[in-house]
């Protein structure tokens, strides 16, 4: 609600400094292929992809307060949509991107039908069920298009105006630009009527209801938006690996996304990015100890929940 109180419009200088810092960090990220070797470029690309995925989980879990423990489904719908449309139907990769987003968003809106009637732990269990159904369906190769347990290989490279983005660096830039767009979207979400309605609902659904907030609509929109963004990440994921298989979208992947949001800081963009880095980048650095990833992260999760239940980088207080 703009201009209600003139006293609040003067920004404090630290806030202004941090606003300038984020775009700078993003621009600095663009130089990763120039200054780091190729293994780092692929780590940075995976960071961007998982960051989009974790931010999309945050729309439902962090901002919506809905315990979505099946988010890998939407990530998978996007990845499979790109893989199938590209390999079976010959669509160019970038043409599959809007289709992947829309299909994943539609899946989110559809599943929101039963899910938004549920609360808390019940909703969580139902999302786990959807995740199991999705993985089983992909494994059973319906219509011969998903490739069963082996999945789909040979996904093409995206091309822009006739130039193939075949190099590791070019793909990284694509991922990084998509991350930038999603970050802008998340910022605008905070200021939108939808974002505010989400905050009210999360705090007190009954009170929000007495004031004219349509709970089902807002929750369904959250699922559609979160799922659509996850579908976007799924396309990037399919392109990055040039292969998709059911194993990438199993329940434990959903748990990881859930944990990234909770540990990083629900509703906080920096928190979710930090959580993504801790979960997906740090293990790459200590690749030799990769099998300890869940062990270390498990201990870190317990420590954070006990010592810092609001997350590592919590959401700062926002105006309504």
């Amino acid at each position: 609600m703009p201009g209600i109180s003139p006293s609040r419009s003067a920004p404090k200088s630290p806030a202004r400094a941090s606003r300038a810092l984020w775009p700078l960090l993003w621009v600095a990220g663009l130089t990763v292929p120039a200054v780091l070797d190729s293994s780092w470029v692929s780590i940075a690309a995976m960071f961007a992809i998982y960051a989009v995925s974790a931010l999309s989980e945050d729309v439902i879990l962090g901002r919506g307060g809905m315990f979505d423990m099946g988010h890998a489904v939407y990530f998978g719908v996007g990845a499979y949509a790109t893989a199938i449309l590209n390999t079976s139907f010959g669509w160019p990769i970038l043409a599959t991107l809007p289709a992947a987003v829309l299909l994943a968003a539609a899946a989110g809106a559809l599943l929101a039908g039963p899910l938004t009637r549920l609360r808390g732990d019940y909703l969580l269990v139902a999302t786990i069920g959807f995740n199991s159904i999705f993985v089983l369906t992909m494994q059973n190769d319906p219509g011969g298009v998903t490739g069963g347990s082996d999945g789909i290989t040979g996904i093409g490279v995206p091309s822009l105006f006739g130039f193939p983005l075949a190099s590791q660096s070019a793909m990284f830039w694509l991922d990084w630009v998509v991350l930038g767009i999603v970050l802008l979207l998340m910022r605008n979400l905070d200021r939108s009527e939808f974002g505010r309605a989400q905050r009210y609902l999360k705090q007190d659904e009954l009170a929000a209801g007495t004031l004219g907030v349509d709970a089902r609509k807002v929750k369904t929109q959250a699922f559609a938006l979160g799922a659509g963004l996850a579908g976007l990440a799924g396309t990037l994921f399919a392109v990055q690996l040039s292969t998709v298989s059911p194993a990438s979208f199993v329940f434990t992947e959903s748990v990881t996304l859930f944990a990234v949001v909770i540990v990083g800081g629900p509703g906080s963009v920096p928190g979710v990015l930090l959580g993504t880095a801790l979960m997906f980048v740090v293990p790459q650095i200590f690749r030799d100890f990769a099998q300890y990833r869940y062990f270390v992260f498990g201990i870190a999760m317990i420590a954070v929940m006990v010592l810092r239940p609001q997350g590592l980088w919590p959401q700062r207080r926002r105006r309504a």
């Binding site: 209801g209 007495t210 004219g212």
Partner: protein
């Protein structure tokens, strides 16, 4: 035409019927009180009117529109706002933000007007406009909950136990403000355990007992009636 007409309304939680065939009317400009003990179904009635609970049987009409099956957000848009039991202010939002939220269905211009009106009516809220609502006293939170409901510009204001848990002096102050709100032309349906204050404010009253309306009369006659005095005002039958 009555502003609010409720006919044979039943609401159930699973097997338990909390309201059993309640009928009542509220005329435009009236203040109507619903009296009753704990568990009589008062809050259930308020939530059912607001569309927060599904109705098992019966009909609710507001301003000529059937709202029996209407969703809560549409009911607010039609002109019914509620200050819920226990106040339910958003503790982590500032006072002014809580009020602005009350105008969720309204334009920015209407919100600005509404803020002025409410700050005029409750100067203590104006003083604390930048304070987090969670740091207010109970009475101030109640003012905020009422103010927030007024921001929706209701034709009918539902008040669920506005005196709950408040010091007597604060109860007086809240009821003074309610008189002012009623005088400004807003129709009020109020649920209260504080029977004396409610009946002094109201034009008419209904007595609800275990889900049924058992009395209906003018507020003055209810206040004088031996049954009401015995049951709610602590006086023995004479």
């Amino acid at each position: 035409m009555s502003l609010l007409v409720i006919e044979d309304l039943s609401v159930a939680y699973g097997q338990i019927e909390a309201l059993r065939g309640v009928s009542l009317t509220v005329e435009s400009g009236e203040v109507v009180a619903i009296l009753g003990a704990n568990g009589a179904g008062k809050t259930t009635l308020m939530r059912a009117i607001s569309g927060l609970l599904p109705k098992r049987r019966g009909a609710v009409r507001f301003d000529g529109t059937d709202i029996t099956r209407a969703p809560a957000d549409r009911i607010v848009c039609l002109g019914i706002a509620q200050s819920p039991e226990g106040r339910r202010v958003f503790g982590t939002l500032k006072v002014e933000e809580n009020l602005a939220l009350g105008g969720f269905t309204r334009s920015a211009h209407e919100i600005r007007q509404g803020l002025e009106t409410v700050f005029g009516m409750f100067p203590r809220l104006a003083e604390r406009r930048d304070q987090l609502a969670g740091t207010l006293s109970g009475g101030e939170q109640q003012m905020l909950a009422i103010g927030r409901a007024l921001l929706a510009r209701p034709k009918l204001l539902l008040l669920d136990e506005p005196s709950l848990g408040l010091a007597p002096i604060m109860v007086q102050s809240i009821f003074r403000s309610l008189r002012e709100i009623a005088a400004s032309g807003v129709t009020v349906l109020i649920v209260e355990q504080n029977v004396r204050s409610a009946l002094k404010l109201a034009d008419r009253g209904y007595v609800l007992e275990v889900g049924r309306i058992v009395h209906e009369d003018s507020a003055a006659r209810l206040l004088a009636s031996p049954e009401v005095q015995a049951a709610y005002l602590g006086k023995a039958h004479t």
